[in-house]
């Protein structure tokens, strides 16, 4: 049974994997296209001794996660783009308190209420502007239902390991689609949490979880300490998939749902004799810069494909030190690029940049 292939929606697979990873508290508020996560948790949590609570708002939900995480249990919330904007304050507080928790963003089109169809326009929000203050959180970008499950588990492990909120940046396509999934074996990676606020009957010093530092020197010191942790995260966390990049003259790059379509386009380009390859970042923060640097000598041009007006494209320019032309192709608002559209862009680059 354990290794059975099951046909599930990405949202449901993520929720089930979170439960298996030991998530004991889920707090959420409905919003398309992620509501299946909350719906699944509402059925599943009471059966496994966990807590499901539909909060009165996204802000309440993230603050419930903040409270639960402070007691050391694995806690998660999920939402879609507008809801993540609302959670930003709470994410910043959790980062400021070094609290492990998992936040899932199943992106939809924006800005504002936008639409309910898939988009990838929260890249900046996830990787650069998760809330006020100096902080980063690891961001995983799955590209299949299987990875929705795999990285849900990993997100909890890394959150605990580095005492940080971790984001899973998905989108409406991955959340809504069904694919076969095999749930990963769970190894018990939950460390002792001697910092957690649990009742102890005055047997030890109180643990205090707080992000308020009124003395400037103390706040600066805490920020410096946290940034030392980020250096370790930058060394240990980057994950990337490369595909046919060894001899690629045109490196096409995209994450999540876009990467699936990029792969089809790269295959089509190869069939026409164009040396194309793909870099797919799995961690968006820390960005897998090395994979790009390694291709700079062989690649003649890069093409960034996103369901946005161009957000990851900045990181690709930095990772390639602007040594090669970096072009962008994006669709927004819920329109999803076709493999043929991306192939046309690759051919255009082949014509203009490969002389």
């Amino acid at each position: 049974m354990a290794n059975e292939r099951m046909l599930m929606k990405g949202n449901e697979a993520l929720a089930e994997a979170a439960v298996r990873a030991g998530c004991k508290c889920y707090f959420g508020y409905p919003i398309t296209p992620q509501t299946e996560i909350a719906a699944y948790m509402s059925k599943r949590m009471p059966k496994c001794g966990g807590v499901f609570l539909q909060a009165e708002s996204e802000i309440a939900a993230i603050n419930m996660v903040y409270g639960a995480a402070a007691t050391g249990v694995r806690a998660m919330t999920s939402s879609s783009s507008p809801g993540i904007s609302l959670k930003s304050e709470g994410i910043s507080y959790a980062a400021g308190c070094d609290l492990p928790c998992v936040v899932v963003n199943v992106q939809r089109g924006g800005p504002g209420l936008g639409g309910i169809q898939p988009a990838q326009s929260d890249y900046y929000l996830a990787t650069k502007a998760g809330g006020h203050g100096d902080f980063y959180i690891p961001v995983y970008a799955p590209c299949s239902v299987q990875e929705m499950a795999d990285y849900a588990v990993k997100a909890f492990d890394m959150a605990d390991k580095f005492r940080t909120p971790v984001m899973i940046l998905s989108d409406g396509l991955l959340g809504q689609m069904m694919e076969p999934v095999v749930f990963p074996e769970i190894t018990d990676n939950e460390p002792e949490k001697d910092w957690a606020c649990t009742g102890h009957g005055n047997k030890r010093r109180h643990n205090i979880i707080n992000s308020l530092y009124l003395k400037p020197e103390e706040l600066e010191e805490s920020n410096r300490e946290r940034f030392k942790k980020y250096e370790i995260e930058k060394a240990e966390l980057p994950e990337v998939e490369t595909y046919l990049t060894e001899d690629a003259e045109i490196v096409v790059t995209g994450y999540g749902a876009s990467a699936r379509i990029v792969r089809s386009a790269v295959n089509a380009a190869r069939a026409e004799g164009i040396k194309a390859g793909m870099i797919r970042p799995i961690t968006l923060w820390p960005f897998p810069e090395k994979a790009y640097a390694e291709t700079v000598e062989t690649a003649k041009a890069y093409l960034v494909v996103e369901l946005s007006m161009g957000q990851m494209v900045d990181d690709v320019r930095l990772a390639t030190s602007c040594k090669r032309p970096v072009r962008f192709f994006g669709r927004t608002g819920g329109v999803i690029h076709t493999p043929a559209e991306i192939l046309a862009q690759i051919k255009l680059i082949a014509k203009e940049e490969l002389k």
Binding site: T32, M178, P339
Partner: protein, 178 residues
Amino acid sequence: MTSEIQLAGFGGQGILFAGKVLAYCGMLADREVSWLPCYGPEMRGGTCNCSVCLSDEPIGSPVVNDPDLLIAMNEPSYTKFIGAVKAGGYAFIDSTLVDSANARDDIHEFRVPATRLADENELKGGANIILIGKLIKETGVISMDDIEAAIRKIVPAKKAQLIENNLRAIKLGYDYTE
């Protein structure tokens, strides 16, 4: 080989369920499969559609733009999708609800009065599965064994009588000749 399938009709006709049955068939045959529903306001009434890919290779885009196979269960769906079917592809039309004459001469169009057959055989709501029966007969994309296994897998034990109904619907479509 990859089969890209588009299913479309009214909300309530079981479009998403029919897609799920096909996806399960693919999975039980150890193939790569994807199922992508429309999840917009359509699913609360109005037109509804769903994309299914069955493949022997990893599936890139789960969005079906040019289907190899189309199941169309109402007039708006027929009008919207018939032009997109790949040349040489197949279309299975519920002729109880679609009046338009064949729009293409470069694809195989099969018309089955699925809603009428369902009503006559006390299989209310089974028109979707009747069309799948015809699809199995004409394309061989999935096998009878797999469809039976898929239906047994999807229908919950509590509703066992629905298994027999679905299997009857498959056979009705499979045996139907114009």
